[in-house]
């Protein structure tokens, strides 16, 4: 999968409380969550974001609460892929489980700026800054996680494990 989009750049320790504040967690409707994505860190994000845009952040993206509403809100707001120097572990799992593509690429995360055009080739693991003419290699997913992604997510994998009577 290849994504090309405009970057929305954030710093380190972007927590799930600012990605989707708890006051909106009385629903799990993706459209409603999307209307409040990033509200407490970047109030203009929802108006600025265009379908296919790319989110970039530095270390520890998605720290804090386990709310899966966070990757759901980001994806539903139109973000195609999140590139970060590192991800908090629950967010990392949640992103894979909800089908929000994520890429670990510290070099790109350090150098990319808001407004840059980025091209992310998930399969090849390559991040290219079209604005600045720089190319970066992303970390590959461990084989098991790649298998989960290829099978269409965790629940598809579990269906194949649980067998007939429960699936």
């Amino acid at each position: 999968m290849i994504f090309v989009g405009t970057v929305h750049k954030y710093g380190r320790d972007v927590d799930t409380d600012v990605i989707i504040p708890a006051r909106y967690l009385n629903t799990n409707d993706p459209d409603e969550l999307a209307r409040h994505a990033m509200e407490d860190i970047d109030a203009g994000f929802v108006d600025r974001v265009r379908p296919g845009d790319i989110m970039v952040a530095t270390e520890n993206f998605g720290c804090g609460s386990s709310r899966e509403h966070a990757p759901v809100a980001i994806k539903s707001a139109g973000i195609s892929v999140v590139v970060a120097a590192s991800f908090a572990r629950i967010f990392y799992r949640n992103a894979i489980n909800t089908g929000l593509p994520i890429v670990v690429c510290p070099e790109a995360a350090a150098e990319v700026e808001s407004g840059d055009r980025l091209k992310v080739d998930l399969k090849a693991g390559v991040v290219e800054n079209l604005t600045r003419g720089r190319v970066y290699t992303a970390e590959a997913f461990p084989p098991f996680m790649q298998e989960l992604i290829d099978r269409g997510g965790l629940l598809e994998y579990v269906k194949s494990r649980v067998g007939g009577e429960r699936a």
Partner: protein, 432 residues
Amino acid sequence: MGSTITEKILARAAGRGEVHAGDIIEAKVDLALANDITAPLAIAEFEKAGFTEVFDPARIALVPDHFTPNKDIKAAGQAKKVREFARKHGIVNYFEVGRVGIEHVLLPDAGMVAPGDVVIGADSHTCTYGAVAAFSTGVGSTDFAAAMAWGHVWLRVPETVRFVYSGTLSPWVTGKDMMLHTIGLIGVDGALYQAMEFAGEAVDGLPMDERFTMCNMAIEAGGKSGIVGFDEKTARYLESRPAGSRARTAGQVFAGDPDADYARVLEIDASAVRPTVSKPHLPSNTAAAADLADVPIDQVVIGSCTNGRLHDLRQAADVLRGKKVHPDVRCIILPGTQDVCLEAIADGTMQTLIEAGCAFSTPTCGACLGGHMGVLAEGERAVATTNRNFVGRMGHTGAEVYLASPYVAAASAVAGHVATPDDVGAVKGGPR
């Protein structure tokens, strides 16, 4: 090569002789839990995937504790989804308002966790149960949905960081202060993906309630889990759980091998830890409470899954006994469970706190996450015994939260600014 406690627990749960950091395993789940925020999304995914049956209705806990008693109409709808799912699937451990407590106080106190168990929960503070020498970790709703159907979870076996606390704690210093101090040392991603193992003389000396507090906040350093080795205190705690409960009848005790492979070992002098506060807006932004007397406050919150146990409320009462909450401060108590409330009534703790001018809430996560029962306005500042002080965590993005122990929180409530018990003339172990 030897194994850590965590590796041994995960090897047992994976049905393998041994496992080591980095291995990907499929572990049998002894308990899977979710709350009224995370369960509705999990239920939707469970049903969308076509699952019709849970793996074991006795090993799933549904704990509507975040926005209950229902804070608004939408939250009521979410709570209703959880209730209906629990009824449909005969979920044994569904807790209705009136019986419900804050999940990470309620479930271990109800005896639902045994040593050596694997617990996953769709709540990041699920790491709390490491205090009874279990492996426990937070996951999202889809992982919980998968565990409900499958009874297993895939895990990458974490590396372990061993924190060894030497010495004894100074007066008014608690497990909470040790943990805030530790997060201050290593940062909010200082133990990313790792198991945090707490050991040493000072941890041996901690009561169970404070060990729960330490494990509870492992996630605030990015940790996958927190764990304390089994000892006599663990045994006594488990023995006092309800008869017939898992804590009394199941479990397996593991200890780390002397030649276990640790990612690193940190030696921390616990006797040098002072009453510690995390300033806005990260738990790692620590300072000594004594140095923050120039910070006026509007609200104090004592309770939550981090510090909502009886021991915590007693500590607050030790400071507030015979004193009054400052006229400019609202002091809100979020007790962990109904049993905590009953015990606090029986021993006079609740009377002490109410006489001092505190408001007692029903057990709920409430204000901790800016849900209800104490949301902050723009420009307001709180001292809280909760676990996070992110931007907007307790309400308006222009509000501030200072994390602290029950002692410091109670002292701050009296002083009207960040304060230590000594600042307000509290006498430890004073008359009850």
